[in-house]
Symmetry: C2
Subunit: 224 residues, 2 copies
DNA sequence: CAGCCTGTATCTGTCGACAATGATATAACA
DNA sequence: TGTTATATCATTGTCGACAGATACAGGCTG
């Protein structure tokens, strides 16, 4: 069997899609930068057809935009877009926990607890990279068990689009509040209270977003 | 200026996309039916390239799915998919009203009130088609004013996917409860209460969904 | 020196072609 | 007659080519 069931069959289209996507997320392709099909085809050693498909998908994913005459550019990173994304994400993450609450097995909660302890340990040692790495792990258990594949897909798309904004502010620094919030969510899960878990999650995501926007605004002010 | 700013520039890709999409929604292409690129190219008098782009977009839109070897089929209509869609839609519509509540001008509320009166009048006269036509009108004012373009897009996609299920149960019949629910939402809007508007909207969408599922289940039982 | 016109170069949308892969129908055989 | 092997056929992924459209550079003019 396929060890990774999510893996689409390898093809030039798929590879090109993933490569361009990565370049957009890590900033190799800068916001606003124009991307021409022949150039990309040359860069990724393929022809225009796979590039075209990749660009089409990325446009649909919200990474690219088209000028009036079909030219493609990396979507600029506006604060307003970020906020629009995050409002929706907060709601979606909230919905995911709410759906997941009755479905999570005790073993899942224990896994999340362990990851949380780990995260806290790393944070105490002042290891921000480790802390960042452990954070998403916690976040992945919930969609995995929410039982709604479409929601998982939507959430994945939102998170990917949001992750692009990190090139503006660097890696996220560790926040003490995060652990407190995670513990609150976990507590609500142990109490099997969907409403409370949802409320805590939404609060968590929103606070995280406002912190990010504040950082973003500082950056923009300093640079201008 | 372009009278319809949403109108993508006319092209074979776009036309083919819209045509296939329509065929999927109105049932000309049946759930599970296989769609081959050469065949579609022939049918729409174009070459495979525009067809390929159209199929790619439709796959991303959730109308199509691919077998393991890349062949494309109209996505089957499962009750579980319907429920997954509707859970998300309920939340998204709720979010949309919540965001729209402080932004709606009185004139918008009056417009919605008028449409609602109209709807009620048609319903009393026993004109289900008219009632159905007036319903969505009410629903469109809110996203239009919610101030979040991404949310509008997501909602549009969800509604389109859901609308495909109508081929299973025929046109929706008029429901008295709908008007009551609309009036409740409108009342919350007049009171400028985002939370209440959201709660009423979610309730409305959820009830509508359960009614639909019930109808669907009856159909399936009768047919089998 | 600024603004306009024009020619050039590039890009996108679309097309047909080809090879490799996989499905399908057919025929041979137990 | 059921099963298997085979040959045929259709389909997808990828490529290069072409035409129309557009942006850009450079020269011309006031």
């Amino acid at each position: 069997m396929d060890p990774d069931s999510k893996a689409a069959k390898s093809s030039l289209s798929e590879d090109t899609y993933l490569a361009i996507r990565q370049a957009l997320i890590d900033g190799s392709f800068k916001p606003g930068q124009r991307l021409s099909e022949p150039e990309l085809a040359l860069r990724f050693r393929t022809s225009r057809s796979p590039v075209r498909e990749a660009l089409l998908r990325l446009e649909h994913d919200g990474f690219l935009e088209r000028t009036q005459n079909g030219q493609v550019r990396a979507k600029p990173l506006d604060v307003s877009d970020f906020e629009a994304l995050y409002v929706i994400r907060a709601n979606a993450e909230g919905l995911a926990v709410r759906l997941a609450t009755p479905r999570l097995r005790t073993i899942d909660l224990e896994e999340m607890g362990l990851r949380l302890d780990e995260l806290e340990k790393l944070a105490r040692k002042g290891d921000p990279d480790g802390a960042v790495a452990a954070g998403p792990g916690f976040h992945d258990v919930i969609p995995r068990e929410c039982g709604n594949p479409l929601l998982v897909e939507i959430l994945g798309g939102l998170r990917a689009r949001i992750s692009r904004f990190r090139i503006l502010v660097g890696s996220p620094e560790y926040e003490k509040e995060k652990i407190v919030e995670y513990r609150r969510i976990l507590k609500a899960l142990y109490q099997r209270s969907p409403e409370q878990a949802e409320a805590e999650m939404i609060r968590h995501v929103n606070r995280s977003a406002t912190a990010f926007v504040a950082k973003l605004r500082r950056r923009i002010e300093n640079q201008s």
